[in-house]
Amino acid sequence: MERAWASELIGKSSLAYAGGVADDLFKALADPTRRTILDELADRSGQTLFEICGRLSMKHQLGLSRQAVSQHLAVLESAGLVETRREGRYKYHDLNTAPLRQITERWPVPDASRPEESTP
């Protein structure tokens, strides 16, 4: 009983979460440059702004200003997909794919979304 009550609560809160943050998430994912930033952070998490800019211009020929890249990162950060961390004098950007779970929670994918197959 207690367990059912708890899972109901968790279900409710995750629904509320999905409703509140979903717009930010989908907006963040809608832009191809932002998806490329996520690809590069998936290649290696923990990058400085300089490294992200370098990868976009040198690997993807995306001639964006540093300010434009900063703005894309701010959108990704507000969607929770990128997290920034200060380490001494440096600032790094980490990838956080956890918010993507909202998508399959809302529109479950057969097989892949089976609880026994998801990571504990």
Binding site: R44, Q47, T48, L49, F50, E51, G54, R55, M58, K59, Q61, R66, R89, Y90, K91
Partner: protein, 130 residues
């Protein structure tokens, strides 16, 4: 006209001399007292004794700190040195305790990495493709 000298600001010239010669492997070219503790201190590459000199300039001016702090926070290097193999140099320097803010990455035609010179700057090393 040619570029014969460029400079980096360093927190401490004694420490910088050690890092740029003993760790990076450059050779001291000039070392002239210029008043107080400050020296006109330059190094060159051993591969190019008559090449461009790097001035290790005292960072005493108040504008230097905010300028460098902002660059370092965003991971922006202040100078770039050429190496024949970024990965090998990364391993050599890491072995000597040098901290990298960017590990070697292949970015299109070039491979680059960025390290902290312990004197307040980030330095990029780069290899051009063969």
């Amino acid at each position: 006209m040619k570029i014969h000298l460029t400079s980096v600001f360093v927190d401490d010239q004694t420490k910088a001399e050690r890092f740029y010669t003993e760790i990076l492997g450059f050779v001291k070219k000039h070392d002239v007292p210029v008043g107080g503790e400050d020296r006109w201190l330059t190094v060159v590459s051993p591969e190019e004794a008559e090449g461009t000199e790097l001035l290790l300039e005292p960072a005493g001016h108040p504008a230097v700190k905010p300028y460098r702090d902002a660059l370092v926070a965003d991971g922006i290097p202040i100078a770039q040195f050429a190496v024949t193999d970024v990965q090998a140099e990364y391993e050599r320097l890491t072995g000597l305790g040098v901290h990298f803010t960017q590990e070697p990455v292949e970015m299109g035609p070039v491979t680059t990495a960025v390290f902290d010179d312990t004197c307040g700057n980030l330095i990029q090393i780069a290899t051009q493709p063969k």
